[in-house]
């Protein structure tokens, strides 16, 4: 685990709260998913929580974030409203997208979440465009886009990186490499597995990040965000972490059929929450008492979000065409 010295305690604890919150929300969703009341395909980000937390902790509230189908962690880390997210999973009118989007399409414009695309790589140029709008306005915002290793195979990534680098736009490309596209391993799909070397073709700074280590994510993202906010152009981060669950839904029933189990065992020794918790305890930043307090607060928040979502009304079927046009 990277040394956290020099980072204010307040931020260190905030990172812990966010990782814990993502973890506990995802586990709660997973535990209730079998009820079939959340009628939308969920893509859980268990194992990847430190990336969302570390990246978004470097951003201001009005900075923009574009997300993808595996969107829960990004939404929570950027400060999206939790009851509205859970209500969206329950396809309710009170959902953040009023039940029109589902799990893959979360939005909260009040914290700069302008939407998530479930077309692989689809959100990448949107982020570049939002950054362009920021430059035209001179509003000083930074835009971050999250995408996966699968999206690094899409042509639109390279079109987007070229344009962002050409115009020196304030955007940070965050690739979450979890090594799998559904059941297909990165090595079965990519001629060269080093995703982080590709942005250098556009003379774009690029780093590989330990996506399990929230401090590594935080520090490297902070460098990228500071650089781009000062007008020096885009950066790229390849954050490596492991997808603990199947591509979609709860659990991973097919695990033994597509994963190498020694790979699995190796990654299972690395838990972003446990590693960070250990480091904070060792650094006297987190006590058992504080940990309990944080966990209880989060669980209460989650209880309330689920109660709100479950009690909320469904969309009115007479309004099926509403919101087509603005």
């Amino acid at each position: 685990m990277t040394d956290h010295s020099g980072i204010p305690t307040e931020i260190l604890l905030k990172l812990y709260v966010i990782i814990s919150k993502i973890r506990r929300v995802e586990l709660r969703i997973e535990s209730l998913y079998h009820e079939d009341e959340m009628k939308t395909p969920v893509h859980l980000c268990l194992g990847q929580e430190a990336i969302s937390a570390g990246v978004c902790a470097t951003l201001q509230t009005d900075d923009y974030v574009f997300s993808n189908h595996r969107s829960h962690g990004h939404y929570i880390a950027k400060g999206g409203d939790l009851p509205a997210m859970i209500a969206e999973l329950y396809c309710k009118e009170t959902g953040c997208s009023r039940g029109r989007g589902g799990s893959m399409h979360l939005v909260d414009t009040s914290v700069g979440l302008l939407g998530s695309s479930s077309i692989v790589g689809g959100g990448i140029p949107l982020a570049v465009g939002a950054a362009l709008a920021s430059v035209l306005r001179g509003d000083g915002r930074v835009t971050v886009v999250f995408f996966g290793d699968g999206a690094s195979e899409e042509g639109v990534l390279y079109e987007s990186m070229n344009f962002a680098a050409l115009k020196k736009l304030p955007v940070v490309f965050v690739c979450e490499n979890n090594f799998y596209s559904v059941c297909s391993h990165q090595t079965a799909r990519q001629a060269n597995n080093d995703i982080s070397m590709r942005p250098r073709a556009f003379e774009m700074p690029s780093s590989r990040v330990d996506g399990v280590d929230v401090i590594d994510v935080f520090r490297k993202t902070m460098d990228a965000v500071n650089r781009t906010r000062s007008g020096k152009g885009p950066s790229f981060l390849e954050c490596r972490a492991y997808r603990w669950r199947g591509h979609a839904g709860a659990g991973d029933n097919l695990k033994s059929q597509y994963r190498k189990l020694d790979e699995w065992d190796q990654w299972m020794t690395r838990d972003p929450l446990q590693e960070y918790e250990k480091a904070l305890v060792a650094g006297n930043i987190l006590t058992e008492k504080k940990k309990k307090q944080i966990t209880e607060t989060i669980d209460k928040e989650i209880d309330e979000a689920f109660s709100f979502a479950q009690a909320s009304p469904l969309p009115n079927e007479k309004e099926v065409t509403k919101y087509l046009y603005s």
């Binding site: 939407g115 465009g129 079109e159």
Partner: protein, 346 residues
């Protein structure tokens, strides 16, 4: 809002391809340039992007020298990355800008279908109206001089199929300006398809800013014997056909729909109620195209008015050929409209 105080005009004064009246006249591309100029001037959120928009040809003159007036940040050339750059335009729109993305030919929009169909058209709906996408995509249909299969497509039938888009196809300089202003002021993604053969067309274009409402067609010529609905350049062919048919005593009503999405159903139904006969003339393949949609609409809502089979004039089901002999065989024109009318009119 910068768009609240625009004169709204619905009826074009004195449409006449060869009129000699003493009014201010502009060609189709001049009218488009004026609309872009005035939009850039009025609203600082507007910007113009596209391959070659700042080059010495200025997109057939429609963007000529605008970069000199508004700077390279608001009027800029783009890499040849249609899908990526369409996404950039969509993202800028989502974040509050008003991009106008100019393409030489609709054929290249096929490279951008993911961003147009999966993203731009769905962003408002998919997020429950919390975000919107005020984007204009312009493209110019080519025709002739051996432009062939990949530089002459129209493709509006594809866009008409997609909910969440608006689809505009002007046929006069006056409409080109007024409809482009409406498109830029609209809060939704608009596909604005022009026709290269209309670029010589000149008509009265007021200097002031004006807006033409979407979903309002216009009767270009009054008649009682048959209705010809024209789309884009085929409005001109329809007017030529009507002139010739008048020599034989047929009074043809010519309707210019101006926008296909929203579609002015009422103007078509009212006309068909009067004439009982309908020909739809399109600049696209007939199969599964805009004409099929209009014919189906009339069959559903105006069945009792129809006294003869509905005729469609459009492209045969093959790609566009290069040789001028084959081009002549491929493209329908006034003669085909005349033949269609003669087959169904009394």
């Amino acid at each position: 809002m910068p768009w609240t105080k625009i004169l709204i005009e619905q009826q074009e004064p004195g449409f006449d391809e060869h009129a000699g009246q003493d009014v201010r006249k502009l060609t189709f591309p001049q009218a488009l340039r004026e609309a872009m100029d005035q939009a850039l001037d009025r609203d600082e959120r507007v910007f113009v992007m596209g391959q070659g928009v700042d080059d010495p040809m200025g997109m057939f003159g429609t963007t000529l020298d605008l970069h000199k007036k508004y700077g390279g940040q608001r009027v800029f050339d783009t890499p040849l990355s249609e899908n990526g750059l369409t996404g950039v335009a969509v993202g800028a729109a989502i974040a509050g800008a008003r991009p106008v993305y100019v393409h030489n030919r609709p054929d290249f929009l096929l490279l951008a279908m993911d961003q147009i169909v999966n993203h731009a058209s769905k962003w408002s709906f998919m997020f429950g109206g919390h975000v919107n996408c005020p984007l204009v995509i312009r493209a110019v249909i080519g025709r002739g001089w051996g432009s062939a299969a990949q530089h002459s497509q129209s493709l509006h039938g594809l866009f008409m199929h997609i909910p969440g888009l608006k689809l505009v196809m002007p046929s006069t300089a006056y409409d080109a300006k007024g409809l482009l202003i409406t498109s830029i002021a609209d809060d939704n993604p608009v596909i604005f398809i022009e026709h290269r053969w209309l670029y010589k067309h000149e008509s009265h274009v007021p200097e002031e800013l004006y807006s033409i409402p979407f979903g309002k067609g216009i009767v270009r010529r009054q008649g009682k014997d048959a209705t010809v609905v024209g789309i884009s350049y085929m409005v001109i062919e329809a007017l030529r056909a009507a002139e010739k048919l008048a020599e034989d005593g047929y009074e043809i009503e010519v309707i210019d729909l101006r926008t296909l999405k929203p579609l002015d159903e009422e103007i078509v139904l009212q006309s068909v109620e009067k004439t009982g006969r309908l020909v739809i003339a399109d600049t696209d393949w007939v199969t599964g195209g805009a004409g099929a949609e209009i014919a189906a609409m009339v069959a559903q809502k105006g069945f009792n008015h129809i006294k003869a089979p509905i005729k469609r004039v459009g492209w045969p089901d093959v790609p566009i050929p290069a040789s001028y002999v084959l081009e002549n065989a491929f493209y329908p024109g006034a003669e085909d409209i005349i033949n269609a009318v003669r087959r169904i009119a009394k």
